[in-house]
């Protein structure tokens, strides 16, 4: 009996030590991707596998959230205490998560990183947008440019893609004259704010959101002209009547189905469009310039962030660094459709095509100043939300451009004051 007891006890202790030992050897990381698609998951899995190969005792679990519900799910996970180690961080969420003190400051990790030196300046600027410290390491940029349907333009008698706003309106009018076709794939529904801001800024000749006194520039006469421009597009029939409700999927589908000829979007739309349209049928040109000869395409980003609550800081940072090396980043950005973060990316053959020309011309041209949305404002998400219904009202003719601009300007001015007070 005593022997039996001793045997059982010893084996139990042995088993416990072994399993504890095994647990010690294996570090588990949870990586959550939020902008999910089968292609991205595949690429991410491959990059992560490389990292695991270089770090044999780290095991990374990838959780893929469907984008439509990603915000709700991630916030529920965080609220419920199941906080991942590394997360894909879109720019619009950064202020929220960084502002709630949930993210790790990556400044030191970047400074001591061997590839930190080749990061483009924009990369660092963007990463620091919330709170002035790098709470995220961007993996690529979204930059607006104008897709155009070469076939439709030819049919409508438009010889060249539009360079100015006036040409843009004119070309749209001509295409809309074709039966069953429209000029512009207007994003009247969710996510359309960038369009309004861009055109307002372009017609106003400046991409400053606020004057020195902290007043919003969105209701200056030039900006109002820009807002009126979009309303005219819709009300004159140069955009499909349905487009008042259109979101991302609808405008891209509208473009590749040949329903509308112009689409202003980021390189990620290129992937969907290229799959469904012949490369010879479309191309990309920079956004049209305004009366001042300048255009202000919006630029955004997404990146990798580490949650402060992680129990394995070194490994989590290591994973982020691995995903962001020039080689990994090129692989990733090619599949994902964003502009890479390291200097010299446009030399790569993948990016040196007619389609990407639109974006690189934008980056390198003097007429174009990429514009960053004021995501540092605490309630910017709220603004995006209220902009949808108010802009729809304007499109449908129940309010004037001036009225809309005033409402937006008032909201933003107040937000800016609040933000300044916390600086």
């Amino acid at each position: 009996m005593k022997n039996l007891f001793r045997t059982v006890a010893t084996s139990a202790i042995l088993a416990a030590t072994l399993s504890a030992g095994a647990a010690l050897a294996e570090t588990k990381l949870k990586l959550v991707e939020v902008i999910t698609s089968p292609a991205r998951t595949e690429t991410l899995t491959a990059l992560v596998a490389e990292y695991e190969a270089n770090n044999p005792d780290v095991d990374v679990e990838i959780v893929s959230l469907p984008w439509g519900e990603a915000f709700e799910k991630l916030s529920t996970m965080v609220a419920g205490g199941e906080i991942p180690d590394v997360v894909e961080m879109p720019d619009s969420w950064l202020a929220l998560y960084a502002g709630n003190d949930l993210l790790l400051d990556l400044e030191d990790s970047i400074a001591s990183w061997e590839h930190g030196g080749t990061l483009a300046q924009k990369t660092l600027d963007m990463g620091r947008l919330a709170g002035g410290k790098a709470y995220t390491l961007p993996y690529g940029f979204y930059l607006r440019a104008m897709f155009y349907n070469k076939k439709l333009l030819a049919e409508a008698g438009v010889a060249n893609p539009p360079h100015t706003m006036a040409e843009f309106m004119d070309a749209s009018a001509k295409v809309s004259a074709l039966p069953g076709k429209s000029g512009y794939c207007l994003r009247g529904g969710g996510g359309g704010l960038n369009g309004w801001i861009m055109y307002a800024a372009t017609m106003n000749g400046s991409n400053e959101f606020f004057t020195e006194d902290g007043k919003s520039r969105l209701n200056e006469p030039g900006s109002i002209e820009g807002i009126q421009f979009l309303m005219d597009m819709y009300q004159k029939g140069y955009a499909p009547k349905d487009s008042v409700n259109w979101g991302f999927n609808e405008i891209v589908a509208g473009f590749y189905s040949g329903t509308c000829a112009f689409l202003d979007q980021d390189p990620d739309a290129l992937i969907s469009v290229a799959e469904r349209m012949d490369a010879a049928d479309f191309a990309v040109t920079p956004m049209p310039v305004g009366p001042s000869g300048k255009a202000f395409p919006t630029i955004g980003f997404a990146g990798w962030s580490v949650f402060k609550s992680t129990e394995h800081q070194a490994e989590a940072i290591g994973l982020v660094q691995h995903l962001s090396t020039p080689a990994s980043n090129l692989t990733w950005t090619k599949r994902v459709g964003v502009i890479p973060i390291h200097k010299g990316a446009e030399q790569d053959s993948h990016f040196a095509t007619e389609q990407y020309k639109g974006w690189f011309d934008t980056l390198n041209g003097d007429e174009y100043t990429p514009t960053i949305m004021p995501i540092y404002l605490k309630n910017f998400g709220v603004f995006k939300e209220l902009a949808i219904s108010s802009s729809q009202e304007a499109l449908l003719g129940s309010r004037t451009a001036e009225d809309l601009a005033n409402e937006w300007a008032d909201f933003l001015t107040k937000e800016y004051q609040d933000w300044k007070n916390t600086q």
Binding site: I35, T36, S37, P38, R40, E61, V63, S64, P66, W67, G68, E69, E72, K73, T76, M77, A79, G80, G81, E82, F248, N249, V252, A253, Y256, S257, G258, D268, A269, I271, S272, E275, R276, G337
Partner: protein
């Protein structure tokens, strides 16, 4: 004979009405299937055609063999059957209690059950998530079954209650006088009479669990435990909706529901024999 003519006209009208219902129910489903068999490049250009010009089974092939849909289906089947089974048992008992007994707190219990149906689930997802995390039931089918059962019990209870209400109390009282306990009376006398109600309840709970999205999305993380509605969502990325595959998966998912209904409809329309009410 005039009555025979009337009968045929009435009969024809009935068939016509039924045909209309079937048409209305099936047309959108037909559309779903049509998109599933249309090749990708034609989906937009031939959108309004009633009949596609080219067929393809590629979407079905990809869904079945290139994605994890078979796993998702399996999980959905487990969760749906589990939920239907447990919910029906619990709800039958509770519905019987509501129907036959008056007891203190009856109003309170009913009110609480009603309130759980009235408050938007989205608001209470975070606390539920935390509870499930505490019970280590996150990312598990068991946890999902428990949550689904809890959510469906009120509805199923009220439904069963209304079916029990339709059966006169004297039936089991007569049986109990004859010497059965209430439970035996319930099993032998009442139960067969509630088969239509049970079938209806089972059918509803099964489909409710089958197509539920919110909880499955929030409580399940890993691919191996995903249910099919969440799986459908993976076809909707930020950049595109893979219509062909999504509709193919949706079509395939209709098959178990359809089969289940055809199975239970036998019980659904089991008529009462006239003799049951009499001694």
């Amino acid at each position: 004979m005039p009555s025979k003519v009337n009968f045929t006209i009435a009969g024809a009208l009935r068939y016509f009405a039924i045909a209309l219902y079937v048409l209305f129910a099936l047309f959108p489903i037909y559309w779903l299937v049509k998109i599933a068999v249309t090749p990708d490049r034609l989906i937009y250009t031939e959108g309004t055609n009633i009949w596609p010009s080219a067929f393809t089974l590629d979407n079905f092939r990809s869904v079945l063999f290139l994605t994890d849909f078979l796993v998702y289906f399996k999980n959905s089947l487990i969760v749906s059957f589990g939920t239907a089974f447990f919910t029906t048992i619990i709800a039958t008992a509770a519905g019987y209690a509501f129907s036959r007994f008056h007891f203190r707190g009856k109003v309170v219990v009913i009110s609480v059950m009603l309130i759980t149906q009235m408050f938007p689930l989205l608001m209470i997802i975070a606390p539920i998530y935390k509870i499930m995390a505490g019970l280590h039931l996150l990312d598990s089918l068991v946890g999902l079954i428990i949550v689904y059962t809890a959510f469906n019990v009120p509805f199923a209870t009220f439904l069963m209650q209304s079916f029990f209400d339709g059966i006169p109390k004297d039936l089991e009282e007569a049986a109990m006088i004859d010497g059965c306990t209430r439970f035996q009376a319930l099993r032998r006398v009442i139960f067969p009479l509630t088969l239509p109600g049970l079938a209806a309840t089972l059918g509803f709970i099964f489909t409710a669990a089958w197509s539920e999205l919110l909880f499955a999305l929030m409580l399940i993380n890993s691919n191996e435990n995903m249910t099919f509605p969440v799986g459908l969502k993976t076809f909707v990325s930020k950049f595109a909706v893979d219509w062909g595959q999504m509709m193919a998966a949706g079509t395939l998912a209709l098959i178990p529901s359809c089969l289940f209904f055809i199975l239970i409809q036998r019980f659904l329309v089991q008529g009462l024999t006239a003799g049951a009410v009499k001694g």
